[in-house]
Symmetry: C2
Subunit: 192 residues, 2 copies
Amino acid sequence: MKVKDLRVVKTKKAIYQALTKLLKDKLLTDINVSELCREASINRGTFYFHYEEVGDVFKEFFEEVIVDLEESYKEPYKYISALQVQTLDYKNIDPKTVRIFHHVKKYEDFYRIILSDNVSTTYYYMFFDAIRSNFIEDSKIGEYDESKKFVYSFMTNAIIGLIIEWYRTNFEESVDDMNIHLVETLNVITRS
Amino acid sequence: MKVKDLRVVKTKKAIYQALTKLLKDKLLTDINVSELCREASINRGTFYFHYEEVGDVFKEFFEEVIVDLEESYKEPYKYISALQVQTLDYKNIDPKTVRIFHHVKKYEDFYRIILSDNVSTTYYYMFFDAIRSNFIEDSKIGEYDESKKFVYSFMTNAIIGLIIEWYRTNFEESVDDMNIHLVETLNVITRS
DNA sequence: ACTGTTATTGTACAACTGTATGATAACATA
DNA sequence: TATGTTATCATACAGTTGTACAATAACAGT
């Protein structure tokens, strides 16, 4: 059984490095296949043997980011927020949502691309589905409640809404700030 | 002063009709400039005189859809929901949100494209900003409350989250169904 | 080491892209 | 009606795209 063909490993590594380098200077949308292959020193035909477009490579990047999102959502949370120290008002926050904020902050450079204008919605939906899956696994033990699917999509996209606003403020707020915004928002909603 | 150059009007009309026709058979992503110009019987150079890519034409389409969204959000609401007749439990729904659902249903064919995978996020953000603006104008009289911007983005994207789920069920639910989903979702959130 | 499989390369091709140019026709205004 | 402006067209060009093919080299299993 083939575990890893060294030729493929080498080729993909070259492509990854090339894309990483090019992304430092130009937008994902502005990078074309020829340029990427030139930078990676691989034949263009080889690229098409593995991918269809430049975005597919970025998609593989983002898939690893999504893995981190899922891992950090599941693992025991050891981060002590300054908020939790200061006051107990925030104790009833869903403590897991803050991990999403941490994750986004960690991969800030990626989310600047994913949430930017004029990129494919594919990455957005990858993000959406990942968060939504986490929410579902988190709330139900065992069976999936079909009737709740609108609730999950509502909550998932609401959180992404906060992250979009975060992105638009150039990620200036801290993770704790984002948590405060979430709590305040939930307060506004439950009060109406 | 030039109000409308007949040449431009004619050209754009041809492009609009061509794009409309092509969209019946293929995805927006699969329509290229050459094909569009061939269908519209205009010179390719003329296209580039007005636009940069096929998506720009669709953007003009969607801008009109957005105008309808804003109009229908503002105009006095005359639609009597079966829900409002049946029960009074739903009287405290934000009555204006249902208009968004009506609008999406009305332009279902458009939102099938906007919300589909692998299209530009540009249209998503146009939709997002339109709804968000409406929410803001709706809640404040006069000055804009900067501190509430996360609340607006949260609520806006939450509603779009419902619409994404609606899209994924192929818009099978009725507008009233969507209203029920919204109310149920808000109930779940306020109960937690 | 041998053999069949497969990834990579170079090359080629028709089609599309984005831009530029000059000619022409439609436009606006005096 | 005459004149300057500008949208459209035809053409051209270098570069990209997606695909195809044969040759070659790297791989996996016997």
